[in-house]
């Protein structure tokens, strides 16, 4: 911006292109591998150009899956989608209601509720997996969508984002709606929700990716193939010796697993960045 010579203007492009190549290289490799046969990949080094088995590999991955896995990428992507949507939508709905109550209502247990929710921010699921597993098992929710989704909605990030947003809304609007005879729920539906569209979209992007990319929790509670998420499927396919792994199918599935969240980040880039930087506060 301040210096003006040719070299200085060129170098940032050079550095950024190097970074792009490093970031993309693994993905390109996955793509190439997913277009070859198992034998071609195992004959090190594998070819560095796309092969001719692309359609065949993806068809098999999507419709049948790896041998002995017993779950197709289609089924597993459906499970991942249900989990991601369940977490994103569930968290948004529950958090909107809670934030609405905490900001707009005066009630005796308000502070207690606030702190009870607040403290969940501190402890990620990773540090309390065993006891949470036991709770889910006691409730009979192993191998179920509810078991996959519910414990992931706990964390209060969304409540805080919405609370922050609601506190900036002028209270005169709420007061005016009361004077006009609207009930609090009417105010919520017809005035507050439409105003909250942007933070809701931002939260959706963040939570969808969070949900889609969950690993430890589904690893613990899904033992039946019909509930495998796509990441668990990839892990199961990679178990065993290198020679028996069907790399071409694993790589096709890996690429499929990356597409939905990557698409959301690229297409909804603005909401994504807003969602990320807003939850900071």
């Amino acid at each position: 911006m301040t210096e003006h010579n040719r070299l200085r203007r060129f170098t940032p492009h050079l550095y950024l292109w190097i970074a792009i190549v490093i970031l993309l290289f693994p993905i390109i490799l996955v793509f190439i591998a997913s277009s070859h046969t198992s034998a071609e990949i195992l004959a090190a080094p594998m070819p560095m150009r796309p092969g001719s088995h692309l359609v065949e590999n993806y068809t098999r991955a999507i419709l049948e899956g790896n041998k002995n896995l017993g779950a197709s990428a289609l089924t597993m992507m459906k499970n991942s989608l249900i989990m991601a949507l369940g977490i994103a939508i569930g968290k948004i709905v529950v958090s909107l209601l809670a934030a609405y109550a905490i900001v707009f209502f005066k009630f005796p247990l308000r502070n207690f509720c606030f702190w009870a929710i607040f403290i969940t921010l501190m402890l990620p699921v990773e540090v309390r997996i065993m006891p949470t597993y036991k709770v889910i098992s006691d409730l009979g929710l192993l191998n179920s969508y509810a078991g996959l989704i519910l414990p992931m909605i706990v964390s209060a990030t969304a409540v805080f984002l919405f609370r922050q947003f609601f506190m900036q809304i002028p209270r005169e609007i709420a007061e005016a709606s009361q004077i006009d005879g609207a009930s609090p729920m009417q105010f919520f539906w017809s005035i507050l929700l439409p105003m909250t569209r942007t933070p809701i979209a931002a939260m959706f992007v963040i939570q969808f990716i969070y949900g889609w990319n969950q690993y430890l929790w589904p690893l613990l509670i899904t033992t039946k193939q019909e509930y495998y998420t796509i990441l668990i499927g990839i892990n199961r396919m990679l178990a065993g010796a290198d020679v028996v792994i069907e790399w071409q199918i694993v790589m096709a599935t890996t690429l499929l697993a990356m597409i939905p969240p990557a698409l959301i980040v690229v297409v909804m880039q603005k909401q994504f960045i807003a969602g990320m930087t807003d939850t900071e506060k």
Binding site: L29, M130, V154
Partner: protein, 296 residues
Amino acid sequence: MVQQYEFKAKWLPYLLVLPQMVIVFVFFFWPSLQGLWQSFFLQDPFGGQVIFVGLENYVRLFTDPAYSYGESFAVSVAFAVCVAGLSMILALFLATQTNKKIRFASFYKTMMIWPYAVATMVAGVLWLFMFNPNVGVVAWFLKNRFGIEWQHLLNSGQAFLLVTLAASWKQISYNFVFFLAGLQSVPVDFIEAAAIDGAGPMRRFWKIIFPLLSPTTFYLLVMNLVYGFFETFPIIHQVTAGGPGKSTSILVYKVWRDGVINLDLGGSSAQSVILMIMVIGLTVVQFRFIERRVHY
């Protein structure tokens, strides 16, 4: 503060917070307290005897060499620090380049942030595939061009390096977003004034831009340590399974392994409790800092 208008309703607010409170109690307080409770007991994994042992599970962690808890702790710290350092330095550098009012800046931005969408577990698979001793392209290249035998399942240094690279690769985009946002909020007049006064680009960066970025840097440092400590389980699980030996067995991996594989519920719970205390510590540090930031 002006008296804010608030709705008055007797039951409605309770109804509204009810779903959140039920989830918080059932899936947060109940398991957390149960974890704390279990950490004081020695349990037969087959559900037979439960004996109250007080703090013995904790004492065992720090004194029983079979646990190698200290070793695991040291690995976690080293791993988290390396990942935080590597990914933050690279992200800051790339954000600085992108912020230089160059052409195609928005294209570069997109190209830097998409890896955020990649699951941590998938990042592990990607790097595993590149460095797999039998089929990995990079492993082959290292062996045939440099004579380096890549065997991360046998060589603990290589194992550590591989998980660090995979975890950092994934984290760059997260840091990039925050650093770029921070850089964009640095007032241009400051930098131009310094340039007029004869400060070169390096000097402007270290004397003006970097200090102004310090809140972002600090926030990211905490978040990256949390990531390194707690969210990198998938990479360890997929790439090295904590090995070779216990050389990449970070604390979160150990909790899972001792609980799920070794069925040592008391020991695993005690470890969970220690992790909880660590997270609470990090969070408190962060909130303290944010409060201070508001005042200056």
